[in-house]
Symmetry: none
Subunit: 415 residues, 2 copies
Amino acid sequence: MSAEILCIGTELLLGNITNGNARWLAEELAGLGIPHHRQEVVGDNRGRVIAAVREASSRCRLLITTGGLGPTPDDLTTEAIAAAFETPLVEHGAIWADIQAKLSGRGRPCAPSNRKQALLPQGAEVLPNATGTAPGMIWSPCPGFTVLTFPGVPSEMRAMWQATADPWLRQNGLADGLFASRMLRFWGVGESALAEQVADLLASENPTVAPYAGAGEVKLRITARATNLPAAEALLQPVEQELRHRTADACFGSDADSLASVVLALLRQRGQTLAVAESCTGGGIGAALAAVPGASDGFLGGVIAYANTVKQAVLGVPAELLERHGAVSDAVALAMAQGARQLTGATWAIAVTGIAGPGGGTPEKPVGLVHIAIAGPDGSCSEGVRFGALRGRDWIQTLTTGEALNRLRLQLLAT
Amino acid sequence: MSAEILCIGTELLLGNITNGNARWLAEELAGLGIPHHRQEVVGDNRGRVIAAVREASSRCRLLITTGGLGPTPDDLTTEAIAAAFETPLVEHGAIWADIQAKLSGRGRPCAPSNRKQALLPQGAEVLPNATGTAPGMIWSPCPGFTVLTFPGVPSEMRAMWQATADPWLRQNGLADGLFASRMLRFWGVGESALAEQVADLLASENPTVAPYAGAGEVKLRITARATNLPAAEALLQPVEQELRHRTADACFGSDADSLASVVLALLRQRGQTLAVAESCTGGGIGAALAAVPGASDGFLGGVIAYANTVKQAVLGVPAELLERHGAVSDAVALAMAQGARQLTGATWAIAVTGIAGPGGGTPEKPVGLVHIAIAGPDGSCSEGVRFGALRGRDWIQTLTTGEALNRLRLQLLAT
């Protein structure tokens, strides 16, 4: 019952565009419980499309193609699929009438090249395209193998999938069970340490548990399969509970959560507000908070105190502290946090000051050293963290943003 | 001489993530002049990885894989590739020492599972990973076929490509001829408008010119091929000059330039400084500036005035302006820019205030409307821009950041 996705387009092979269609279709197949074991990309090349289609037909039950349905000479998907099974093309009068109506409705001339879009292999059904001129097809050229073709334009492909392909797959018994899936998100623990903590669950078959590493963040995906969604959810939930129990506070959220969205939700529950004072991140913590819809409930803003003059003039950091301890110090981080809290009237303030590199490091204060302070209703605290210089400026700034938000999260959870 | 890309990861088949690695690698291969006819994706499944690798070895000269190099049980790329060619794995003492040093340097425990990352098939060379614990390999298991493996983490994969794989491919004659390439970067012009403006050059064969669309930014890649680098550069330069001449100020830079780095360079030439006052971007403009090494020469910092109270209390925007014109208006943007300039003593200040959505829009002030002001030594100006609501909050914030920096760039060029 397995499916493959074949995306056709030289622009994908040149790296001109990212293959978002494959991701979207993969998610749809997972939601339908159709096992999906392989994706391929080939260019607008007749021989290679024929070869890829033939190979897929020997491996899978269902092949989804995107791209190559347009009117230009390099659009050759339909013709190549027909050739792969030595089947002649026939013109569909209804498609040709529809193409003519759509083009004249847009005031566009109807070129002879458009007529080839009305050709389908003998025996294929039309997969209608309500918005564009390129229809797809549903065709079973041999027993136990069906190919569905879609244009490469994402909006047309998605609309055609939802209107025709999805119901067709359900009605024809190709959707096998249903999947429920949850992505748990972690901060402050490495991928291998987390994997060992839950090693027994990584071996489980249904639900499956799989780890993923990101920039500082680590994730575990739980996927359960059953005949219906409530049954899949019921399989998933005890594993999610066990994972959350074992990993405690290291799990900050699930699915679409981010550290920023979780911090904002905790603040919202308490009716509290947050300000930032950023040096080495230059606004990255604020931008992460502002990326969350509805951030204005809890996020007030703050100060980007990149230069020491701004630390002094706007946040009121005493010149004497900067001289004695240096800008990258607990004393200055604390004064920045307290200054931002006072200036904005926020319940909480996060301050970061560090050396993002590549220049500016010294043996005592190397690149990657960042001091992170949090000021709140019950006082302030600050700590130095060493992210190391290896992964560069961008990495240090990203980890600083995550670590600062995570520290506030842990403090909110503890109070 | 052709190459294939094989991306390994169940998360790609489940549609959890978009395959950005394939696009990036495809662009690199194109830049090296290595023909690339096929991409594949398979899951973390030993049998299917083995099958995909064997099939690729019968079709292509060079296979690039990503993913599956981590320490967890579902990371099985190295093992499966070795098995595809019935070759035993051997431990590399130097890799294991490097992994231990990296983990202890980060204060992380060294788990037994990490040790499998030190195993490579007999005869394979290490493809070093300077930043992560998972090295890749360069291996020719049979004549006329070489496989290069990379981790799935994009930053590690890219750094390894640039440090080792790219020079290796050039030195070993897999790059066919020598290529000089230049990426010209544009802001404020659409991909199709730009393509029409330079249509004759897009048809050129050597150098080739190819357009790429990004988030607001449009790029033209010029690639010249010759037997040596000076000859390739000599072919490239007249086309670059012609493109720059035709597109004038819309071309803001090339290669590693960003709008932020170009603005900072213009300020550095003038010995001038910049501050920001950000509402709807929440710090994104500051973060873009701080992403540039050495930003402290010209970037002083500024104010994240997300809440109106911060616009008033910190930037001194009069309450009366906010009431009369609303926060999203030229009057408030101007007052924000002037406030930031005064507060920080910067030569220039950029201010943005807008509706990033999804909520908060009205018929007069829809989601996507942003007012951008610039205050400088000769006065201030502000203008409203409509980015539209269709592509969402993140898109609006990204375009606002680029547009604001571009406006300052044009003003600096004009004065």
